[in-house]
Symmetry: C2
Subunit: 345 residues, 2 copies
Amino acid sequence: MSTEYDFIKACWGQPVDRIPVWLMRQAGRYLQCYKDVRAKGGGTFLDLCKDPARAAEVSIQPIDILNVDAAIMFSDILTPVETMGMELDFVPGPVFAKPIRTAADVDALIVPEDMAQAVPYVPAIIKRLRVALEGRVPLIGFGGAPFTLACYMVEGKGSKDFAALKQMMYGDFPLYDALMQKITAMDTAYLNMQIDAGAQAIQIFDTWGGLLAPHDFELYILPYAKQLINGLKRKGIPVIYFVKGGGTMLDLVKEAGADVIGLDWHVGLGKARDILGDDVAVQGNLDPTVLYAPKPYIEKEVQRILDENAGRPGFIFNLGHGILPTVPPENAIHMVECVHRLSLK
Amino acid sequence: MSTEYDFIKACWGQPVDRIPVWLMRQAGRYLQCYKDVRAKGGGTFLDLCKDPARAAEVSIQPIDILNVDAAIMFSDILTPVETMGMELDFVPGPVFAKPIRTAADVDALIVPEDMAQAVPYVPAIIKRLRVALEGRVPLIGFGGAPFTLACYMVEGKGSKDFAALKQMMYGDFPLYDALMQKITAMDTAYLNMQIDAGAQAIQIFDTWGGLLAPHDFELYILPYAKQLINGLKRKGIPVIYFVKGGGTMLDLVKEAGADVIGLDWHVGLGKARDILGDDVAVQGNLDPTVLYAPKPYIEKEVQRILDENAGRPGFIFNLGHGILPTVPPENAIHMVECVHRLSLK
């Protein structure tokens, strides 16, 4: 049945009546109703991720409000890392109190046998969402790419340079590789568990993949991304690979083997499609700050991106990164409406 | 005489005996002797920028220590903005207490008649440096590109999104244009004053230019960058334009008309040169975090970049961004030595 959704059809490069659209971080702080649910339960951001009822509720809010063509489960890319034996906190940025620095640290990392048991709230959220969505739109599951997870695990927190990880990468490749193998194994199991639970597409976020030079991307990111994507139960389930800052190395990003390439706004959509070719779909790529613009400007920008796509099949409209917390919701609603109206054949 | 310097020859695309090299932020915190000079005078970072004797002293330190092929005056891209009537502070990041938001704010901005009088310490630093360098290496002057200056002036401080500037850009183009015209006029006078004082090359830093989509770069950045570069007294003085994150739109970056294009490490050097063509030189592009790597790894990376350049004339070796404050100086020394040794014909 899933192939009847425009979103899924676009992932497979099939023609659609109108371009499907969703927004990264569409369940989030720009919506007052999200903040209400977050406040209602008390507790932390992590508590919200682990509360299937509330997490499902915030995942559905943008479907009702924005009229987007896909839901994405509410979670954080770092929650599964806890199951490897690392204590995670948000202050508000993610912090691992004991980052991975030594061979002993890597050895001590656990790869859980049963991810559904290790993070029971994730399949619970997915199952709740599938029921609650009643087939209105497909449900996207997601995870962080191994490299992006490693950035946080080794640095211990967000960073401009992730120098600790890079020192390990450059200075002790066997240790880096051992770490990446464990992360990739966990990640593969984690995403397959989501598919088993009912996720109808998978997005892999490589938020920090663009930190590396293309040559380093090929050495230190691509093998693990490829292994991860290869290891997924993809039958009928499209996989989206989003490398923020990947625009200068789309040929390499494509090699990872995903069905859909997520694009940030730093690359022109037309040029990106020319480089990527017809055998892969793309998703993107409006600058998230355009949602601060007046409505006619937003419409003009939506039209420009549709023009750049030039009617090629295999296109999902999205922002080039997550929606910003202070964007007026009516502008996001307007953007979705423009995509639907302007792309309708 | 200046055309006898390898650095200057490379800027003009002329053959050199060995590849010239310098490092962005080579006068900086990774050097203990920089920290000593900074501490010696007491006062703030801004005080150091405005003290010709100490600023010249820290500018020369890396020439002696690293054996680089060019000096760059010690300063900050935001110091000339003070002359427009904006109070600048570093806490430690730059802060303008009263950011530009309205037409009245733009109207109130001053474009000084005489930049040498407005920032007397800048020509003083340059003159001191020219004497102290005794012709050992050429001296690079620099400034921020109009867009990057506008980012700080409108936002009031550093930001991930510079949403305030983007709101102005998208929502009130005439206001944005009026602001950019004033900044560009100041910037042109500021850089020409540096040339008059004795700067032998000019680097324009567009640190935030890569924030914009290529289409927006063309609309909101390029016209002013072009106007600035066009307005410089370039006879014999090469101009370097460095757009961090410009790798996805090198064709547009080139249109600004600089003699040398600065490249960050997110784009492969070989690919960048293919796109840019033979009529412009390039400068870059080692990932600054490679200086955390063991020395043999640094050598391997230097060799890789030289290989990517493939002997094409018009190449200046540099980092893809500023040297990081915690890099061991011996690694920077090693990098420079490798460039010289491995590129010597």
